[in-house]
Structures are given as C-alpha cells and as structure tokens.
C-alpha cells in the first residue's frame, strides 16, 4: 500500500481510464501506429472533440507545412524540438517563466511551452531557424556576435526571437523598450548588458531588416 503524506495527490484510479488507447507519439526513428481514422484538427468545422488519441495536424513552421500526429497534451515546444528536430528553441523551465522557448506566432513572441500543438492550426510559427542561419545572420544576430551578447548560448535563441519581434515592429526602439522586450527572457550567465548594447547598436544603425 502506498503511504502518502497528507495532501499528496493520488488520482491513479481516475487516470487509468486514459491510459487505455493512449498511443505512443512518433519519434524520429520510431514508427507511429496510426489508429484507424485518426482524427485531424484540420477537419474540425464543428465542435467535435478530438483526442485523447493522437491527432493529425499541419503546423506552419518557418514557412513550411509540417504534418504531425500528436496527442492533444503535446506542447508546441515538444513538437518543434522532438518531432521536427528544430532544436534551436530550448526547453528550460516549461512553465512560461524564462523565455528560452520563445517563438513568433503571427509575429508575436509567445512561450511555446504553454501552447498545445493542437491549438496552432492556421497560426504562422517562426522559430530561430526561420530567423537566420549561421551563414546568413540578421542584423540583430550579427550585433549579438559583435557585442558578445552571449556566453553559454542556451538563452540566446529566445532573446534573439524576442528582439526580432521588437525590431519588426519598431526600427529604433529606446533602451527602455529594449529592456521591456527582453523582460520575459532570463539569462543565467548574465549577458544582459551586452544584449542591450547589441540591440542599441541595431536601433542606432537604422537598418534592422530582421
């Protein structure tokens, strides 16, 4: 018998009913078992619920359509990293507190860890890979390199993405606006001062085509 502290949640019985029929989501190298007539979010004109079995959907990422099949509980972050191998977006807290998972959805920075993949129908998603590759850096990416606005680099894609959104909205933000745009991103190595410098450099150059 399991002894639990007062207050420990124990919902094993009610959870079991979900474990029937939960299919394993596909991973690279593993083959997904597609259950008969897997539902598709695309065909949802009415309100019919889908899931908990995996659901087929098409995600628009970096200008391309990607077909995936995931349970409703799978986050956009999980899909990007583990199904689409777009590992530039990082998982650091998985709780909307650190910004490492920031992607652009219809141009706006959001935390991909707090978006379900199934919510993302008809949303335009841009990840760091869709912003600039190592051989064609955008002005803000170049400024990051030139101003040493990175150290371990794990928070960097998130900051670049947040600032990319800022510069797409406004060519010459103030330092105040730069800090505000960065306020949802954390850096443990402490690169903030150089991040601000990089962003100010782009703001002052007047050419921020990001």
């Amino acid at each position: 018998m399991r002894i639990k502290l007062p207050g420990t949640v124990d919902e094993q019985i009610s959870r079991r009913s979900f474990l029937r029929g939960v299919g394993a989501s596909a991973m690279a190298g593993a083959i997904a078992k597609v259950t008969a007539a897997a539902q598709s979010v695309e065909s949802m004109d009415d309100q019919r619920p889908v899931g908990p079995e995996p659901v087929k959907l098409v995600l628009q990422v970096n200008g391309k359509g990607h077909e995936v099949e995931v349970e409703p509980r799978v986050t956009l972050l999980d899909v990007l990293r583990n199904r689409l191998q777009l590992t530039g977006t990082k998982e650091v807290c998985d709780r909307a507190t650190c910004g490492a998972c920031t992607v652009l959805v219809n141009g706006q920075p959001v935390y991909s860890c707090m978006k379900l993949a199934v919510e993302m129908k008809a949303q335009e998603i841009i990840t760091i890979e869709g912003i600039g590759g190592p051989n064609n850096l955008t002005p803000i990416q170049r400024a990051f390199v030139e101003c040493d606005a990175l150290m371990c680099g794990y928070c960097t894609p998130g900051f670049v993405t947040s600032l990319t959104a800022l510069f797409r909205a406004k060519q010459n933000p103030t330092l105040e606006e730069i800090k505000k745009a960065c306020s949802g991103n954390l850096c443990r190595c402490g690169t903030y001062p150089n991040i601000f410098r990089a962003a100010q450099r782009v703001a002052e150059s007047g050419s921020s085509k990001t």
């Binding site: 502290l5 959870r15 191998q85 998985d94 954390l186 443990r188």
Partner: protein, 699 residues
C-alpha cells in the same frame, strides 16, 4: 613571466566568440538537443517525501504501458531516502508523455520518517537525525592564530554582528543530463558537463566498461557554475536504461523542478562575528562562529566538491589574532555542490559587513579602513582605482543622510581567488593548405574556451584567429582537466602555446624556413606536400600563475516606504594576469556581478518545515535577476601580462552582494544582516512592521 610575446597582436584584444554564429542561430547542438537514431526519452521518478524508508518499488505497471521500453530503480529496496527529490526510479520511452504516464504508474511502498529542514532546528539535540547513527552537526573545526582573548582586550573598538546567507541554487539554463548509448562493447555519451573526463570515469565505473570503450562529448553546454561534474545519478540511470532497452540511446535531461531539488546548491551560513581594532584602524582581533547546511551530505564530498559549509575566515584582511569555529549541519535536503567561488560570497558578506560596522565605530572611511588592513597590493591599488572611477569620496556619505524617502547609499567589498592552471594537453595540426586545427579535451561553458585556444594559436603563428579551427569537448582529444575553480584558461592556454611552439618548430624544419609564421605561412605549409604537421604540447610553467584580487563598489537606492532596493551602479576593478580575450573576460565579469546581484537581492531556496518540500522549485518564486534588475556595470579589467594567464570566472562574483549590502546599510542607516535583502527585511530594519496579531483562525 617569460613565455608570452612582449607585444602581442592577438592576446588581450577583443575577439568575437567563435561559436557566436551557431549560438545566435540556434544551430549549436547541446546534449539536450541530441536525437540519435532510435533515441528514447528518459525521465526520473523522485521522492516526494523528505525522509522515508523505501520498502518496495513496483515497476511492472510502468513497463506494461505502450511506449515504455525500460525501467530501473535507483537503488535496491529497501533503501533510505533523505530528501525530497532523491531518485527512486527511472523510465525510458518513446515520448515525454509516455514517460510521464509511466512515472505515475510506478508503485512505491514507503514508511515515512521524521525529518528536519531548518538549520537551527537540526542543531538541537532533540532534532530528527538525517543519518540515524550520527548527529546532524559535524564536529566543529577550530583554528586559532595569536592570542584572541588578549588581543580583544587591547582593542580600542570592538564590534559584533550576526549575519546569515541563504542557500542559493545554480539553475543552469540547460538542465543536468546526458544522451547516452550503452551497447555491449561501448558507451557513447553527449553530456552537459564541465568535465568530460569525469563523466567518462563515472560511466565506465557505473556500467563496468573499460575506459577505452567510453566516449564522451560535450561541444556546447548550457551552463554549469560548478554543478556539472561526473555523470550524476541521472547519467548512471540513463546508461542503465539504455542497456535495458537493448543498447538504444536514451536522452535523459532533468526538469526545472529536479534542478531545484537534487543537483547541488551553495550552502547557507549563520555567522556570529566579532572584530576588534585600534583607533588608528589596525585590526587586532577576530572571532567567528559559523554553521551552515550543505544538505543531507553535509561535510561529505559531492560531485565537484564543495565539502561542507565552511569558508575562508577571516576573509582577506590581515588580523594577527583570530579564532574561527565552523561546523556544517545536515538537513533533509539536496546536497550542496561547488557553486561559483564556493564559500567566498558568504565569507565576503560576513567580513565586509563587520568591516563597515568597524568603520562606523572608528569614524573612518570604509575604503581607508580596508586599504589599511589589506595584505594584497593588487587589491589596495584596486581600491584606489575603483574609488576614483566610482567617485567614492564625493558619493559616500554618512548613513541615512540622503534626502527623501528614496535613499541612496554606497558600499564596497573585495575578493580573492586562485585561478591557477595545471596539467592540460593539446594537439595542433598544420595542414598543407595552410589550415590549422587545434584539439583539446576541454570544455566551453560559455566561458569562451574555444575562442581562447584560437587566439593563442593565432598569436604563435602570426595568423588571424579565424584561420584556426578549434575542436574541444571530446574524450578522444588530448586530455585536459575539468572546468572548475577558474582553472581552464590558465591550464589550456599554456598547453596550446606549447603545442603550437612544437608544431612551429616542426614546420620550420619541414619547410626549411626559419620563420614560417605570418606572411610566410602559405609558402611554408605548401612545402608540406601531403603530410600535415601534428604536434602535441602540454602545460608548462612560466605562462600562468595564481592569485587574483578584485574590488567592487555599489551604489543603490532604497525606497524606505516600500523596502524596494534598486542597484544603480556597480564599479568593478578586476585583475586576471594576462588577458587573452578581452571581450569574453568582461562578459565573465558582467555575469559574475549579475549572479552576485541575485545572491544579494532575490535568490533563496525555501524549504517548508511542515512537509519538507522545496516551495519554490521554479523560476516563478526562485527569482533570477532579469533585464530590469541589471544596473549600470562599469568594469575595469586590469592588464598584468607579466603574471601570465590566471582564471577570472569566480572572483568576479564574490564581493558583489557584500558591496550591495554595505550600500543598502549605508542608505538606510541600519545594518543589513541577512541575504537576500528583501523589502521585508528593509522595512523590519526601519521598524515599520506591525506587531503580529493572531497566527491562526480568521481575521
């Protein structure tokens, strides 16, 4: 210092980080990004109880789930759990979701045991014991110099105080973990680590695989701060899962929740201190009694060391008569690990706070008092430089003397650190087409090691750093040490220097050109025809040394109505011998200061006495400094090339919180006695707290 060129072209300049482009584009691949063919997702089940005897763990319900390929227990039952978060079992499956379901399915039978999570409580005789057969408090260590009691009698002024610091967490953004594959004949591991060799040794031991069959790689890693040595329990579990699953790779990265519980922390400190001085400011006597917790394994060496809650005392200052008594007390919480300058930030806070008390008692300027008693010439000079840059004389005023509810204050503190290099090796390959490759089995934690290697090679060969290819983070490369103690630059640079000199000598011979460097490079290397030059080198004397100082001054504003503290400006004067990459060194300083700001104002791991859980296992209530919390940082990086290369990573985080605390105390005219400095503490010191009415029931 003989070795380095007198007028370097590359050393000491600002160099762009080599891995900048791949990091800003998200194409750098970390251990947490690896997805080798057929990989499985790994996850750990942790104890929700702070103390328990685990009677049995039933993995069968997990193994019966579709999508799960392996499950192991962390230990053979029965075994004892000593903190919330201690590992119970682990699973590997086709997806994160499969693993989550599997963890819930695992059945654990446990008898709960009494526990203790507060240091003062753990010291009591009646406290529950973390280990049944020994007291929670380790035998105190006592050290004496001179005649303390007599010395205090000769003091003109004596001040005393009680200072506390909190448990701080590393919270590397990339969590701990590995992607590891164990086949019958070899182990391949991508690790997030500061020490690839330590991971290799640990895995070899864990799985009983010969060392030559264990290959560990870590080209990029997302932060360590002292906590990432060895494979960790998680690496061992991942390896066993891989083996159980038939040799399939398993990627097991910890969650943020796990990071707050189980992979190390900076010990707390509770410091009772007394200081005596003559009227002219000469310190004559010092006494310290301190305890702190390093978690359940208090006093024991843990991954990376850290060994208990002790710290150097008296910190920095020359005091002829001292008595220091330190003990570490165990609680039911995760064990400490070395965290950026272990012991020193706590030491600095206690020492520099009592120094400011003494300055007040003597009516002496705090900087003057420090210079008078500081045995380090480097630091004495740094105080002068900092004071001038900061505008100390104009800015520093008597306590609580600024106008209005938002009061300004200034404070200062100093640091000391080693940063010496030791054995490291490197290999240089010069190709017939003129390209150069350097290989070294070292790590780059964001410290810029990769770039540093290129700078050294470029200096020796009179090329641009961009002409050098650098490969690191692989146990098949020439061995180097773990990246801890701020030793990497001082270890690796001399090794690369040596390898390059050897390679150069070989190239001169092979090409028949006495000076193949610089403009001669292409023609010299062309003469190699088809065979590259390959030369090894190793660390040698004369290129690095140890012992740095560091001084920081802080200017703060305290809103005395709300208790809110804003750091306006920090001036830092730091030495590190010969600067290799000025840009990266300044970034290290910025980063260390910001970590120190977190220690000063925001960060604290909080345990609940009633349940033993960590209440803030997230970034919501364990608060890291953000963009709005960064003050103006004014950094003076000194050049002392004659001293050779010395490490800089740790000294820069030591005095920050002490300087801020002194500045806050100066602003409000009351002594800050504990970290982090919260609005609650400020308002308490200002006697603005209401009395407590009723504890329970409704209002």
């Amino acid at each position: 210092m003989s070795g380095w060129p007198k007028n370097p072209k590359q050393l000491g300049k600002e160099h762009l980080r080599f891995d900048g482009p791949v990091k800003v584009s998200g194409s750098a691949r970390y251990a947490s990004d690896m997805q080798p063919v057929g990989w499985l997702y790994g996850m750990i089940l942790r104890s929700p109880w702070p103390a328990a005897r685990i009677r049995a763990i039933d993995l069968r319900p997990a193994l019966s789930l579709p999508g799960i390929r392996a499950a192991v227990t962390a230990n053979d039952a029965p075994f004892t759990i000593r903190y919330c978060g201690e590992e119970l079992a682990a699973v590997a499956g086709l997806s994160k979701q499969a693993c989550l379901d599997a963890l819930i399915a695992i059945k654990v039978d446990a008898d709960l045991l009494p526990f203790v999570v507060k240091e003062e409580a753990a010291l009591r005789d009646t406290s529950p014991r973390v280990f049944e057969n020994q007291p929670n408090a380790a035998e105190p260590r006592e050290m004496q110099t001179g005649e303390v009691d007599a010395a205090f009698r000769t003091a003109d002024k004596t001040v005393e105080g009680f200072f506390q610091t909190q448990v701080q967490l590393h919270h590397c953004l990339e969590t701990h973990g590995n992607t590891v594959q164990v086949t019958p004949n070899e182990i391949t591991c991508w690790a997030s680590t500061q020490g690839i060799s330590s991971v290799r040794d640990g895995l070899a031991d864990n799985i009983s695989m010969p060392l030559d069959k264990v290959h560990v790689m870590s080209e990029f890693m997302g932060g360590g701060f002292g906590s990432k040595f060895g494979p960790g329990i998680e690496g061992g579990l991942a390896a066993r899962l891989s083996k159980e699953a038939g040799g399939v790779p398993v990627r097991l990265m910890l969650t943020r929740f796990d990071e707050a519980l189980a992979v190390g922390n900076r010990p707390s400190s509770f410091q009772k201190v007394r200081l005596g001085a003559k009227n002219d400011g000469t310190l004559v006597a010092y006494e310290l009694e301190t305890f702190g917790t390093a978690g359940y394994a208090s006093g024991g060496a843990t991954a990376g060391g850290g060994g208990g809650a002790g710290f150097p005392a008296p910190y920095i200052y020359r005091i002829p008569s001292t008595r220091v008594r330190q003990t570490t007390v165990a609680i039911n919480a995760g064990s400490a690990r070395a965290m950026r300058a272990p012991g020193h930030p706590q030491a600095s806070f206690g020492m520099e706070s009592i120094m400011d008390e003494m300055a007040l008692a003597l009516g002496m300027d705090p900087v003057e008092l420090r210079i008078k008693n500081d045995p380090s010439e480097i630091r004495r000079q740094q105080y002068q430089i900092a004071a001038e840059r900061f505008g100390w004389n104009a800015k520093h005023h008597s306590p609580a003397s600024s106008e209005g509810p938002v009061k300004s204050g200034t404070g200062c503190a100093g640091a000391t650190w080693g940063g010496a290099g030791r054995g490291s090796e490197a290999e240089v390959r010069i190709n017939p087409d003129g390209t150069v490759e350097v290989r070294c089995g070292t790590q780059d934690l964001g410290t810029g090691t990769k770039t540093l290697i290129a700078i050294v090679a470029a200096e020796i060969f009179a090329l641009e750093p961009a002409a050098i290819s650098v490969r690191i983070g692989d146990t098949t490369f020439p061995p180097s040490g773990g990246s801890g103690g701020s030793t990497t630059a001082a270890s690796v640079a001399p090794a690369v220097f040596d390898a390059c000199q050897n390679a150069l000598a070989d190239l001169a011979l092979a090409s028949g050109m006495s000076d193949p460097t610089g403009s001669n490079w292409r023609s010299a290397t062309a003469r190699l025809r088809i065979n590259p030059i390959v030369a090894r080198g190793r660390w040698k004397e004369g290129l690095s040394s140890r012992g740095v100082g560091g001084v920081q001054m802080a200017e703060v504003e305290v809103d005395t109505e709300t208790g809110f503290v804003r750091v306006k400006r920090i001036v830092c004067v730091q030495d590190c011998g010969l600067v290799v990459n000025r840009l990266a060194s300044v970034s290290q300083i910025n980063g260390g200061i910001i970590l120190g700001i977190g220690f000063a104002l925001y960060e604290e791991r909080i345990l609940d006495s009633q349940t033993g859980v960590v209440l803030n296992p997230n970034f919501e209530t364990y608060k890291l400094p953000g963009a709005a919390d960064v003050p103006e940082l004014d950094v003076i990086l000194q050049d002392m090339p004659e001293r050779g290369v010395i490490g800089i990573g740790e000294p820069v985080t030591i005095p920050t919180a002490a300087a801020i605390a002194n500045a806050v105390s100066n602003a409000i005219g009351k002594r800050v006695t504990s970290l982090p400095i919260t609005p609650s503490q400020i308002l308490g010191l200002l006697e603005k707290l209401p009395g407590i009415r009723s504890k329970s029931g409704t209002s």
